[in-house]
């Protein structure tokens, strides 16, 4: 027998209780890793989004519309190069599905502003020519099994078609982006004019424009926003990367919420396992007194208790993290491209720190009590 063997055997003195406690702590760590990986995904930065592109949207909410005339006023601001606009259409391609990214745009300016999008001149010409034409990115084509040349029925709860039938677009082309991450979030595009004629809507969702000097971004944003400041349709202008971060941060609140859940889970675990540990300590008072009698010092016996609780927590953490890693690897192939769910370095560091911290906190009371345990009193209680 080694001291380590001795400690392990002492720890599993009550096999079922310890195993069950460990199992619940393992589950907490599993949950922690899974939730955190999702939270990391949500707060992931889209570093590659350009600062040359700026966006003007309603100050209050992205779903509120802006007057059409704002376009000209923004275009007139010095430093603004090309401008275009888009409206959120919220198209649903398949019954029961969530709405996919679907924008009503001005085709003639849209690709001028988004010069990083790649579309063949053939497809662009076809798009410009036909009022009911639409172009789709690879991701959407693949997801809904679309082909260039077909008619695509699309429904929208924001803009229901007047006759109640789905809207029908002629898919005339496809486009893509050099940026891999962005490529997965490209919208399905169709003529704003078509929407306007059919529904009478004349406002637009937001304006996107390029500027000559990225350094001047905040200056330009300020000029534009102060122009409309005191109107009913006040605006908020940001660079596209800011806008993306802004949007992500709203989802990021979910990340915060998840951290809250994780916190609550661990707090509960803390109470439960601390209870188990103290209980197990009480039961072992006679044994600890015997160890001290045999010559194990106060510190050694305290160390045993601390070691036990650390081992308990780190083992649970290791198993939990292990299972989480396997699970995430298993889920990986079923995620849309661009989504990466993986146990990241910081998550691992967090997990390890929590395990160690938890072990210390839980082990502290038993360790101190064991240290102070007076042999003659403890033997006396028997």
């Amino acid at each position: 027998m080694t001291t380590f063997g001795f400690l392990i055997k002492s720890m599993f003195r009550r096999k079922l209780l310890v195993t069950l406690s460990m199992l619940s702590l393992t589950t907490a760590f599993l949950l922690f890793i899974l939730l955190r990986s999702v939270a990391v995904l949500f707060s992931g930065d889209f570093a590659s989004v350009s600062d040359v592109h700026m966006q003007t949207a309603s100050k209050y909410a992205i779903i509120l519309l802006l007057p059409h005339r704002y376009g000209e006023e923004i275009a007139a601001v010095e430093g603004v190069r090309a401008i275009t606009f888009a409206s959120w259409f919220g198209g649903v391609f398949k019954e029961g599905d969530d709405s996919a990214m679907t924008f009503a745009v001005d085709p003639s300016t849209y690709f001028e502003v988004h010069e990083n999008y790649q579309i063949s001149s053939e497809h662009l010409d076809a798009f410009l020519e036909l009022r009911t034409a639409a172009v789709a990115p690879e991701a959407i084509m693949e997801r809904y099994d679309l082909e260039v040349g077909q008619k695509v029925p699309v429904t929208s709860s924001i803009f229901p078609n007047i006759n109640g039938e789905p809207w029908t677009f002629d898919l005339v082309g496809t486009y893509s982006s050099e940026n891999e991450v962005e490529a997965d979030y490209l919208p399905f595009l169709f003529h704003y004019e078509y929407l306007k004629e059919a529904t009478g809507v004349s406002d637009v969702g937001w304006y996107t424009f390029t500027i000559e000097d990225p350094e001047k971004a905040s200056e330009i944003a300020h000029i534009i926003d102060s122009k409309f400041e005191n109107t009913a349709d006040a605006t908020k202008t940001m660079t596209e990367s800011e806008a993306m971060k802004n949007w992500m941060s709203q989802i990021g609140d979910i990340g915060l919420m998840m951290n809250g859940i994780i916190g609550a889970v661990f707090f509960t675990m803390l109470l439960l396992t601390a209870n188990t540990m103290i209980h197990s300590y009480r039961q072992r008072i006679p044994d600890l007194a015997v160890l001290k009698t045999l010559g194990f010092s106060n510190n050694k016996v305290a160390g045993f208790m601390l070691f036990e609780s650390l081992l308990f927590c780190t083992t649970s953490a290791a198993v939990g993290i292990g299972i989480a890693t396997l699970a995430l690897n298993g889920i990986g192939p079923f995620l849309p491209t661009g989504f990466v769910l993986a146990v990241t370095g910081p998550t691992l560091i967090w997990g390890t720190s929590i395990a160690l911290g938890l072990g210390l906190v839980i082990g502290l009371v038993p360790a101190i009590s064991a240290n102070r345990l007076v042999i003659v009193n403890a033997l006396h209680t028997k």
Partner: protein, 236 residues
């Protein structure tokens, strides 16, 4: 020089506001290789005295010297170390650790030594052999009889080869014939393995195995007689 030497030892415990005087001015010596029985009514302070000799507790005043070491002045860490090297303990209720096998229980004190794993195992087996329990090495305490458990406890007490064994009512929980076996074992350890033994007992028959009997009453040492004198004392 005596192996165990108590000089004007006083011991009192605080109980709330009151002080309970347990030992009053005790002085006595135990020589090397002696086998001493300690008798007296319940509550007279026998266990307390044994605890002082074994370095489990400290006197309120007076000096306890064991094997030339003054125990009063040792830090608790040093005292623990000293216990592991110098004293073997045997209790009435055996106090074995329930999840460990007999051999592992015996090996426990050796975890504090520098012995190799192999050597520890060997010494534990040897100690079990001395107490005649080699064939029960793998049994846990729950699967052993009271007498067998006490043998394991004795093996644990001698495994680190201490000079002194302190035994607190080692036969108190055993029937007569089992008690006799345990006492014979202690006698062998005393006579053949040169262990100095101080044993608390309520049983005059058990005390007969010792060479000397000390009588404690209300914290005072009232007599100390050689075994040959005990009978004479009773007659008069």
């Amino acid at each position: 020089m005596a192996l165990v030497n108590l000089e004007s030892v006083w011991k009192s415990y605080k109980k709330g506001r009151d002080r309970v005087e347990v030992l009053n001015d005790i002085s006595f010596r135990v020589n090397s290789r002696e086998f001493v029985a300690l008798m007296g009514p319940s509550g007279s302070g026998k266990t307390t005295m044994l605890n002082l000799i074994g370095g489990l507790d400290r006197p309120t005043s007076g000096v306890v010297t064991v094997n030339d070491v003054v125990l009063n002045s040792l830090s608790s860490g040093k005292l623990a170390r000293w216990r592991s090297e110098s004293i073997g303990f045997v209790f009435q209720f055996y106090n074995l650790l329930p999840v460990f096998s007999a051999r592992q229980n015996v090996e426990l004190p050796l975890l504090l030594t520098k012995l190799s794993r192999k050597q520890r195992k060997k010494n534990a087996a040897l100690a079990l052999d001395i107490v005649g329990l080699s064939d029960r090495a793998r049994h846990t305490p729950a699967r052993l009889s009271g007498g067998q458990q006490q043998r394991v406890a004795i093996a644990r007490a001698i495994v680190a080869d201490p000079k002194i064994l302190v035994c607190d009512e080692p036969t108190g929980d055993l029937d007569r014939s089992t008690a006799t076996e345990i006492l014979r074992l202690l006698q062998i350890l005393n006579q053949e393995h040169d262990k100095t033994i101080i044993m608390v007992t309520h049983d005059p028959k058990a005390a007969e195995y010792a060479k000397r009997t000390m009588l404690l009453d209300k914290g005072k040492l009232v007599s100390s007689l050689l075994q040959s004198e005990v009978g004479a004392e009773v007659e008069t």
